[in-house]
Amino acid sequence: MAAGARPELFSQRRRPPWELLIDRGFQKLAVVLASVVGLVLIGILFTVLGGAREAIARFGLGFLTTSDWDPIGEHYGAFTAIYGTVVSSLLALAIAVPLGVGTAIFLTENFIPLPVRQVLGLMVELLAAIPSVVLGLWGIFVMEPFLRPGLTSLHQWLGWLPFFSTTPLGPGMAPAVLILVVMILPIITAIARDSLQQVPLALRQAAYGVGTTRWGAIVHVILPAAISGITGGVMLALGRAMGETMAVTMLIGNSNNFSLSLLAPANTISSMLANQFGEADGLQVSALMYAALVLMLLTLVVNLLAQVIVRRLSLKY
């Protein structure tokens, strides 16, 4: 520093104590607010576990493999509901994955002009915004009556198969699966579209450069590069389908009688909860909490798997 410079020009401003106090308080507040997430999670776990304790003690693991649901005899088993949850979401996934990924490919590769693609993409995204109870209402009054003749003839032709062995009477597994497809399609499409868009342009250009066709590039280069994101999205959609409640409850028929037939009424854990929780008391609440615990664990496993898959499968290009 040059001699003669007036030192007061460079004097430090001391932070007043209240300013430090505000800073520290603000940081503490942020920590507290961040820990709300943890508290809520622990709260959910303890509430459900605590509620289920009685049923767990009484029925043990047999709850998962039996399917009586008898509030008068106080005997409960959730096999039908667990089977319904798993089967409905897997079937929905089997239909929605090809549709969703196909749509995502169509909306990212330049088959059609960009403005048209953007409008279609927006429409698929808006489909995700429609509340599930509205889809349920539409399912009851529009989709299910529309499908019934088709399902009836399916029963007449393929009735010898156990999967189509009952006459469709309205609500049942098949309409519930189809409404689930409508619900998870936007998730799969949106995530697959994002992953496809992130594939570097150089990869496409290189593929075209060695003389492949458009679909050669898509199948052998672009899809493998985007597979981690797509698989993650599919797993997220599976988790969503398992937990989906309203539309399924309105269409599945809520029957605890186990049936292999996709045309018969069935049940899922979430629709059982939606239907019975309000009116249940005593041991039934506990049994429902036990079922809720099973649902939580199922979705947790699927969601964790989704995160692991995304991390594992990421191609290093």
């Binding site: 509430t47 509620g51 915004a129 209402l137 309203m246 309000g278």
Partner: protein
């Protein structure tokens, strides 16, 4: 050096690979049509079937007793607004605070990792489980003034559902704010608190607002967390500590009733709900345009 024959550089549609190409393109186009079709059909049904029922009386009256005609969904519209507002009032400050913590105070470290992980887990918890949780925590224990079902309980259930979305959007929006802005603010002597509240948060405002609007729109349409927390009420809202009507629960309850009048009200509610949600989505898109990037 090989020479190319005249035809080898022109497209030969009869080649197997080109046939496959065409077939797959048509399949993908068909899939897209199938994926967009439900949206068009659902929206068309809701707009025409529900929209044709809308009258001023329907928007302002109470639902009729089962079996009677007339009436409206006024209490359900008001109820949805109240419950969603309660949820937003709880979830937005908590979520933004948690997001600020993640992005500004602790990007690494075990606690931040735990919070991020917890946010992801919470985002995957089915909405009906949120309902079960609030039922067990608040409704069955009669936590608030010995009341069981209440608007507040419903709002809290929806808040739990909104929380992960708000945290994630805040966290990601703040991370996109250029580091230079923070350095600049610190450099002119601003405290941490002032830097965040006057520089970083305003810079990320439109992205956060977009996320919040989307989360609110999603919460407004949720039914599962409300059916055994807020329950339903055929009357006008009676404060936060009593059961309250909502459009989504009205649709669920009335859709399975064997009365034409109730089913018509369910369609009308769907119309109002879908229009509100689509408008909120458009608002979110419009807000998103103001993002700095």
């Amino acid at each position: 050096m090989t020479t190319f024959s005249r035809g080898s550089l022109t497209l030969q549609p009869s080649l197997a690979r080109n046939r496959w190409n065409l077939l797959l393109t048509l399949t993908a186009g068909l899939f897209t049509a199938l994926a967009v079709l439900p949206l068009i059909v659902v929206i068309a049904y809701v707009l025409f079937k529900g929209g044709s029922l809308i009258t001023l009386q329907l928007l302002t009256a109470l639902p009729p007793p089962p079996g009677l005609d007339g009436g409206g969904i006024g209490n359900a519209i008001l109820g949805t607004l109240i419950v969603t507002l309660v949820a937003a009032v709880i979830a937005v400050p908590v979520g933004v605070g948690a997001g600020v913590y993640l992005a500004e105070f602790a990007s690494a470290g075990w606690f931040a990792r735990f919070v991020r992980f917890g946010t992801n887990v919470l985002a995957g918890v089915p909405s009906i489980i949120c309902g079960v949780f609030v039922y067990g925590l608040i409704v069955s224990t009669r936590l608030f003034f010995n009341q069981s079902y209440s608007a507040l309980a419903g709002g809290i259930a929806l808040a739990v559902l909104m929380l992960p979305t708000v945290i994630k959007t805040t966290d990601e929006a703040l991370k996109l704010v250029p580091q230079e802005l923070r350095w600049g603010a610190m450099g002119v002597g601003a405290s941490r608190f002032v830097t965040i509240t006057r520089v970083t948060l305003p810079a990320a405002f439109s992205s956060i607002a977009t996320g919040v609007v989307l989360a609110v729109a999603r919460a407004a349409g949720e039914t599962a967390p409300l059916i055994f927390t807020a329950l339903f009420s055929p009357f006008w809202p009676e404060g936060l500590f009593n059961p309250i009507a909502s459009m989504s629960v009205l649709i669920y309850n009335f859709a399975i009733m064997p009365y034409e009048a109730q089913i018509a009200l369910a369609w009308a509610s769907s119309f109002v709900l879908v229009v509100m949600i689509l408008l909120a989505n458009l608002l979110a898109r419009w807000l998103g345009r103001f993002s700095s990037t």
